[in-house]
Subunit: 578 residues, 2 copies
């Protein structure tokens, strides 16, 4: 804030200068007192000058709505919405989102710091205030090839940037608990700059949880039970109650929120697809659930505002009070939380569910062309197996955790897999797409249900190599080539033709189209996956495949380096008996 | 924290390395969950590694005591205790004080930034963690001569120092409300460095309060009613519930503390004399009062710990949890709050009310010799009055606020005051002692009750010139000369002899002796003031005089520049009719 702005703000508050905007006829939610107070909200520039009786150059009648501070999503991956930062702003703001803490973990795994640069620049094209954290685990594991390796030396420059709050979710919790040297170096990089370190510690308990917390971890969004929540909360971690497209932890965790501990509780999405945003909303949806589950509305609003601001040190926001940022959400009631209007830094940015500012799309050329595959052909899918008893990845309900099973398959004379149409078992492969290693690893997938064609994606957590599954090497090859040609995204192939596709030119992870377009495309992809390729109705065809390469989630996964047993943290041969 | 310390901390938390110290057999107050939990506290270096079952190189049996986080006094002037920073540590730590936010407003008014330097260096000699704020109003008003003038340019260097949290209580609230240019410059200096601005805003309401808050004011310790507290709280100011030697706001304000707003409430002393500390304690006394008044003990402890840490951005303290500073207070119960042992940064620093570390007194030569008076003699007390009807300062109960009254006095042929022993009206004078201006201003004081001799002090808020009162110009002259000779402090004179004295070589504000010595001396001074000089029993002879020069508290005061009417903010003649 400049001196002249401060002067104008004080003059406005004192009533000597008319406000730029006055919001009249509203009930202000005061997160400090817990009370709802009637009064005009006077705005000067980007700040709130005062609440009381004020006159302004522009007067907005709030029609008796409640005025709450703008909502802060404490942890979200923009990439998981398959849209650009500009577009996520257009989608979230009409739902009351005014600030997000975004972890660009996916794009940085593909593009390195260049991916972060793009995300930071692109976010300038939206009114939504996007604060970033620097991904802490790139690559997520040493058992795969990603597009970048970011250790402490590579962190030094970006961690100092304004707008980078600190390190993103520290998924390598074993590394912290064991005090690995390279992990300590990363932690020190953040500490020395006075930056935060966000957490990700599912399932850790007791002394290991204390060791993890000791490292300076600020928060955890991975709780799924009240017990886990309490264990973390009493150690000083803020708890992010997550309600995403895939993970629905909010309802169970709300049972653990008390008047004693609620100040340490926040709300987050983590991953939120356009469909969820368009149909259910954003934090307005979280708040609806909170109140449905019996939480007091002001306490719920605090979790979406003041608590998040305190947790992340965003001292300028989180409340409607003099001197705070004019990030304001008008709500028709405190039950359905229907959003009427939204201001960000004093600008009216949404009205009647419509995002108002002009969208300034940022040039994506720096993150295009990310699908770099060397020497690929279907020959890479040859497995030359020595045994017909093989380890297979068994898809489980939910589509993230898998079971390690064995199966007997038919082999031809060269030791190649001969698919039996009566058995739901197909070949899957991961094709390295970053460093031109030429790596292709093959394995078997059970329970996906595909009966025709092939599916290929360039979204495969966390290294985002190409993952492909299909009924024949030919269909799989065709799908991979089509994906390479369109620079990533999703392709569905049947009988040597692309029957549906979604190009994702932004790092092979995000579309440059609208959220509505992405949603329609995904719907079409899902429908054709079921109707044309025969994929099981209870499997989410895209998301399930996305997680088949994630080598930190049990029980067995496939990376570009081979079949990986997450329970023993080691590669295993495809043959179950050698 | 260094990398090897972090490694050791994590190793200790995980149970791989024995703790340096384990506190066993204690009930840990968890400020996050609000629960009391049983468990060992494992300490590694200066941090808490974990709570649970731990082994250590040294084991301390807590004997079933409660373990609370170390207490944080959110606002205190060390100078008001008349002792050095090293000594205040010795006095406060055995009462559970582990951090104080100290505002060296008095010494900086006398010595300028050199005074701050001394306070910061001297504080290194105590285990107590003294965080300073930079005095914001030096001089407090333009109507007096202080030892320094500190405007925005002079603030630039010190505000950047580590250990300086920001600007101290911004007493010039009219300057903020009016958006005075030089005030805005000061505010910008703090804002540009991301530092806090502490508040001081008694009596402000409505739009003026919003204007004051808008400036970025963090907290206020000047509330005396629940209404004032609520007005500030809903505008986002933290509320410091004050219980000092003079101001007792805690009890009335506790009625305003609710489960909704308690996270924004803190505890502070402001001014606390050795007698109060030695006989009543420090924040342990505040906590006792909180619980007596019906506040839940954990909520009260939060006000003295976590809330204060959050308010001032001290992220490393305020809780007993992994990774937090090992600032721990063992309490015999949660009712009397008797302190058994205290650790600061992992070191046992107090036991059985005794401060344990060696005290390292810091060289005071940089702040000695602060009493610089030019061309002083009793001739300066001559008033040459043209009228016998004069404006007088009427002392009121409490001794801070005064009434402006008029009186008829006897004058000799030269227009000089002839004291009537039957009337409680005496001459008082302020002698400039910083810049060698030679300024001496005279006035009349009613209600002090002095019948013999004179009293002179070099403590006279906020510029700390010499203030003297006495029954004759000769006694007053003798007192001033004696005070100059001893480099400040307090002197009592009777019949041309010093009958009691307390030298204050540190800036004329603080003794270099122990708190016990100061307390004994003050007791002797009070006794002799009453018994030998005949001062009224209901007037605090030292403190009352200290405030007779404070030109921001109504109704009429005397500075080195003359008699000042605080209600009109202008100088007035001594003669009521000219």
């Amino acid at each position: 804030m400049k001196k002249e702005e401060l002067k104008k703000l004080i003059d406005t508050a004192a009533g000597r200068t008319p406000a730029d905007v006055v919001i009249k006829n509203c009930k202000v939610v005061n997160v400090f007192s817990g009370k709802i107070v009637e009064g005009d909200i006077a705005i000067s520039g980007g700040q709130i000058a005062g609440i009381g009786e004020y006159e302004g150059k522009e007067v907005v009648d709030a029609g008796g709505c409640y005025a709450a501070p703008g909502f802060i999503d404490s942890h979200i991956h923009i990439e998981s919405s398959y849209v650009s930062p500009e577009e996520i702003g257009r989608l979230l703001v009409p739902h009351g989102g005014t600030t997000i803490i975004a972890d660009p973990h996916e794009i940085v795994n593909v593009c390195g710091i260049k991916g972060l640069d793009y995300m930071m620049e692109a976010a300038k094209g939206t009114a939504l205030d996007v604060k970033y954290v620097l991904p802490s685990c790139v690559p997520a594991t040493p058992f795969e090839h990603a597009g970048a390796v970011i250790n402490a030396p590579e962190m030094e420059e970006p961690i100092q940037r304004e707008g980078i709050l600190g390190l993103g979710e520290f998924m390598n919790f074993p590394g912290i608990i064991n005090a690995d040297d390279s992990v300590l170096d990363k932690l020190m990089t953040a500490k020395e700059e006075g930056k935060i370190i966000d957490g990700h510690g599912p399932g850790i308990t007791g002394k290991e949880l204390s060791a993890y917390t000791c490292a300076g971890i600020l928060a955890d969004h991975e709780c799924s039970t009240v017990e886990e929540m309490e264990d973390r909360l009493e150690r000083g971690l803020y708890i992010l109650l997550r309600q995403g497209s895939a993970c629905h932890n909010l309802k169970p965790l709300l049972k653990g929120v008390t008047s004693e501990n609620s100040r340490r509780c926040l709300l987050c999405s983590d991953d939120r697809q356009p469909k969820t945003i368009l149909h259910e909303g954003h934090l307005d949806n979280h708040l609806r659930i909170c109140v449905e589950e019996g939480l007091d509305a002001v306490t719920a609003i605090r979790m979406a505002t003041l608590n998040a601001a305190e947790c992340f040190g965003l001292k300028d926001r989180g409340a409607i009070a003099p001197g705070y940022r004019a990030d304001i959400v008008l709500l028709k009631d405190l039950k359905n939380f229907d959003v009427d209007k939204v201001w960000i830094e004093g600008e009216l940015v949404a009205e009647n569910s419509v995002y108002l500012p002009e969208i300034r799309p940022y040039d994506i050329s720096s993150v295009k062309g990310s699908v770099i595959v060397k020497d690929f052909s279907k020959e890479k899918f040859k497995m030359n197996l020595k045994s017909n008893k093989v380890n297979v990845i068994q898809i489980l309900p939910g589509g993230v955790v898998t079971a390690k099973e064995t199966a007997e398959i038919k082999l031809d004379e060269n030791g190649e897999f001969m698919r039996d149409p009566q058995v739901d078992l197909v070949k899957t492969a991961v094709v390295e797409r970053h460093q031109g290693t030429g790596n292709v690893a093959c394995g078997f997938l059970k329970g996906y249900g595909i009966k025709e064609g092939a599916v290929a994606l360039s979204i495969a957590h966390d290294s985002h190599n190409i993952i492909v599954v299909g009924v024949s090497d030919e269909e799989m090859e065709f799908a991979v080539n089509a994906l390479i040609e369109q620079e990533g995204g999703i392709v569905l192939v049947k009988n040597g033709e692309v029957i549906e596709r979604m190009p994702m030119p932004i790092a092979g992870l995000m579309s440059d189209q609208s959220g509505e377009w992405v949603d329609e495309k995904l719907t079409a992809i899902h429908e054709k996956a079921f109707s044309e390729l025969g994929i099981c109705g209870d499997v989410e065809p895209v998301m399930t495949l996305c997680f088949m390469s994630l080598a930190v989630i049990p029980e067995v996964k496939l990376t570009d380096m081979g079949l990986f047993d997450v329970t023993t943290f080691s590669f295993i041969p495809v043959e179950a008996e050698v």
